[in-house]
C-alpha cells in the first residue's frame, strides 16, 4: 500500500471546479438522483454499513448523527457544513472546496434528503476568500440547474444552502461555537447535552458535519455501505485526506486508505525530508494533536491508534519536523496559538493556556526548574479533563505527548537552566 486511493478526490484534476457542466459530465449529481429514488431507511442502512466516522477531528459515527436528526419531528431542520478549517497544518477542506465544490453540495443534499432537512448552511472561515467565491458560484449554478430550491429533480424534496463567513476565530470550528457564530454571536460554545441533532442552530434540530465527511456521502450511495467498509481497516473504514506539511519535499493533500503507515505517507507520497536532514518528530492532526518521535512512524493511520493519545486527531494533518528544530520552540508556538484562540468562557482553558505559554517559555529561555515541570504536568491534566469544549481539552495534547516522548529534553533543559531552586 504505497499509493493514493482516490475516491473522493477522483474528479480533482479532471474537472474545472467552476464549471457545473464539467461536474455533470463526470456523473455529478447522479448520486443525488440515485438517493432520491431510494427509501430513506435504505440510505440509513448504507451509512450504518459503511461505518463512516466524521472527518473533522472527533470521529463520531456518521450514521448515528443522521438517524438522530431523521427521528426529530420538530421543523425546520438544518444541515450545516463545517468549513471552518482553522487547525494549523490542515488544508484539505480548502482543497476540496476549491477543486470540487459540487461534490460537497451533493453530499449535503443527500444528508438533507435522508433526514428531511430543508435548510443548509456552509460556514467557511473568513480567511478562505477564494474557497468562498468558488462555493458561492457552485451554489448559484446548482440552484439555476434545479439541484437546489423547491421540488429538486421534480421530487417532493426542497432544500437550499447559504454561505456564512467566519471572521477569524479558530474556536468557531467547534460545533456549538460555530452555530453561535452563524446566529450572529460571539463564538462561545454551549454546554452539552443537548446535542445539535436535538437543539442546534436557532434552537432547531441540526446535523453538522465536516466538508470531507459530506463529500464522502456520494461515494457511499455510489458503492453501497458494505463495499465502502471494505476499504481501510477493521476499525476505520474508507479513505482519509492527509494534509502533509512542514519539512517535507512534496507538501499537499493526499487521499489514502486507513491503515497506511505514516512512514509510507511521508517517504513514499511526500518524498521524505529535503536538504539531507532527518526527521526528529511529527505532529499529528494539527496544533491540537500529539508530537511523536521518529521511531513511531510505523504507526498506521487509524482512529483507534490515534485515540491512544487521549486526543482526537482524525482531521488528518501530518506536520514533519526535522532535526534542526527544538521541541520547546515548537511548543511555544502551539501554546501561543491556543492562548490567542481560547474564547475565554471557561476558566481551565482561558487561564490554563496563558500559564501553559508562560511555563513553556521558561523552558525555551533556559529558565526552568523541576517545579515548572511538575506544574506543567498537572496543568496539562487539569485542562484536558475540565475544559468545556474540544479546544481546551486538546490544547495541552502537544505538551502531554512531549512530556512522555521527549522527557529527556525537559530534564536536560532543567539541568542546563542552572537555576538555584528556592528552598
Amino acid at each position: 500500500m504505497m499509493r493514493e486511493h482516490k475516491l473522493i478526490t477522483a474528479r480533482i484534476g479532471k474537472i474545472n471546479p467552476e464549471s457545473i457542466d464539467d461536474y455533470l459530465k463526470h456523473d455529478g449529481y447522479t448520486m443525488l438522483e440515485k438517493a432520491l429514488s431510494m427509501r430513506r431507511i435504505e440510505i440509513h442502512d448504507h451509512f450504518e454499513a459503511s461505518r463512516l466516522r466524521g472527518r473533522g477531528g472527533a470521529g463520531f459515527p456518521v450514521a448515528v448523527k443522521l438517524m438522530a436528526l431523521a427521528k426529530e419531528s420538530r421543523t425546520p431542520k438544518y444541515v450545516v457544513c463545517n468549513a471552518d478549517e482553522g487547525e494549523p497544518g490542515n488544508f484539505k477542506d480548502r482543497y476540496l472546496m476549491e477543486n470540487n465544490p459540487h461534490q460537497i453540495i451533493e453530499g449535503m443534499l443527500i444528508a438533507a434528503y435522508a433526514t428531511v432537512a430543508t435548510e443548509g448552511y456552509i460556514y467557511i472561515r473568513g480567511e478562505y476568500a477564494n474557497a468562498m467565491r468558488i462555493m458561492q458560484k457552485a451554489l448559484d449554478d446548482a440552484r439555476e440547474r434545479g439541484f437546489l430550491g423547491k421540488n429538486i429533480l421534480n421530487k417532493r424534496f426542497s432544500f437550499d444552502i447559504e454561505i456564512r463567513s467566519g471572521a477569524g476565530s479558530y474556536v468557531c470550528g467547534e460545533e456549538f461555537a460555530l452555530l453561535e457564530s452563524i446566529e450572529g454571536k460571539a463564538g462561545r460554545t454551549r454546554v452539552k447535552p443537548p446535542f445539535p441533532t436535538s437543539v442546534g442552530l436557532f434552537g432547531q434540530p441540526t446535523l453538522i458535519n465536516n466538508v470531507e465527511t459530506l463529500a464522502t456521502f456520494p461515494s457511499i450511495i455510489d458503492m453501497g455501505g458494505k463495499a465502502y467498509a471494505e476499504i481501510g481497516t477493521e476499525t476505520s473504514t474508507g479513505t482519509k485526506l492527509i494534509s502533509l506539511s512542514g519539512n517535507i519535499k512534496h507538501k499537499g493533500v493526499f487521499e489514502v486508505p486507513f491503515g497506511m503507515s505514516m512512514r509510507d505517507i511521508i517517504e513514499k507520497l511526500g518524498g521524505g525530508v529535503p536538504g539531507g536532514h532527518k526527521i526528529k518528530m511529527i505532529q499529528l492532526g494539527g496544533a491540537c494533536g500529539p508530537i511523536i518521535p521518529e521511531y513511531m512512524l510505523d504507526m498506521v493511520i487509524d482512529f483507534e491508534r490515534f485515540e491512544e493519545f487521549e486526543s482526537k486527531t482524525g482531521a488528518g494533518a501530518i506536520i514533519v519536523i526535522d532535526d534542526r528544530f527544538d521541541v520547546f520552540d515548537i511548543l511555544r508556538r502551539i501554546s501561543a496559538f491556543f492562548e490567542h484562540e481560547s474564547c475565554g468562557k471557561c476558566t481551565p482553558c482561558r487561564e490554563g493556556n496563558l500559564h501553559m505559554l508562560k511555563t513553556v517559555e521558561k523552558f525555551v529561555n533556559y529558565n526552568a526548574t523541576d517545579k515548572d515541570l511538575n506544574a506543567l504536568e498537572s496543568l496539562a491534566r487539569v485542562m484536558h479533563q475540565t475544559s468545556l469544549c474540544g479546544l481546551g481539552q486538546t490544547a495541552p495534547t502537544a505538551v502531554i505527548s512531549t512530556l512522555h516522548y521527549f522527557r529527556f529534553a525537559y530534564l536536560n533543559r532543567i539541568e542546563e537552566s542552572n537555576i538555584e531552586e528556592a528552598v
Partner: protein
C-alpha cells in the same frame, strides 16, 4: 451614504450581523469600524449595541482602530515557521519601517500576525487583504509591496 446602501442589502436578521460588519469594514480604506457605525448596524438589525460590540471585540477580523489600506497578515504557526528560512516578519518590519501591529504613516500598510491561513502546502504564507501569497522569499515580499504601492498610485 455608503453605510445605508450596505445595510439595505441585508435582511433585518440577527444572523446577518457578522456579514454586515465585514461588508462595512471592507468597503472602507481604513478597514476599521467606528462606534457610530456599530450603533447604526445595531439599530438596523434590532440588536442591542452591547451585543454588536461583543461580536466586534470577539473576532480578530474586526478592528476599532484605523488600519492601512493593505493589511499584511503573516502566519506564525508551526508549518510556516518550519519553512521560514529568512524570517518573514522581521523582513517586512524592516522593509516597511514599522513593528507588527502598526500602520505605516502614509496609511498604506498594516502589519499583523495571523493564525494559520490553511495554506501550509505553500509555507511560508501571508495574506494581503483577501489574497494569499505563498512560498515567500525576500524578493517576493519586495514585489508584493511595490505592487501594492503602484496599485495606490493608479
Amino acid at each position: 451614504m455608503e453605510l445605508k446602501r450596505i445595510l439595505e442589502k441585508y435582511p433585518k436578521r440577527q444572523d446577518c450581523l457578522i456579514d454586515v460588519l465585514l461588508d462595512v469594514q471592507n468597503t472602507k480604506s481604513t478597514r476599521h469600524l467606528t462606534e457610530v457605525e456599530l450603533a447604526r448596524v445595531s439599530e438596523h438589525l434590532g440588536l442591542p449595541e452591547s451585543h454588536v460590540f461583543s461580536v466586534v471585540s470577539f473576532y480578530s477580523f474586526f478592528s476599532m482602530t484605523p488600519r492601512g489600506k493593505h493589511i499584511l497578515q503573516v502566519c506564525r504557526d508551526v508549518p510556516c515557521y518550519l519553512n521560514d528560512t529568512f524570517n518573514v516578519h522581521e523582513t517586512l518590519e524592516s522593509m516597511l519601517g514599522i513593528k507588527t501591529g502598526d500602520t505605516t504613516e502614509d496609511g498604506l500598510f498594516t502589519l499583523e500576525y495571523s493564525s494559520c491561513l490553511g495554506c501550509c502546502d505553500q509555507a511560508p504564507v501571508m495574506r494581503v487583504n483577501d489574497t494569499v501569497y505563498g512560498n515567500l522569499t525576500p524578493d517576493k515580499l519586495r514585489a508584493i509591496i511595490s505592487e501594492c504601492r503602484s496599485d495606490d498610485d493608479a
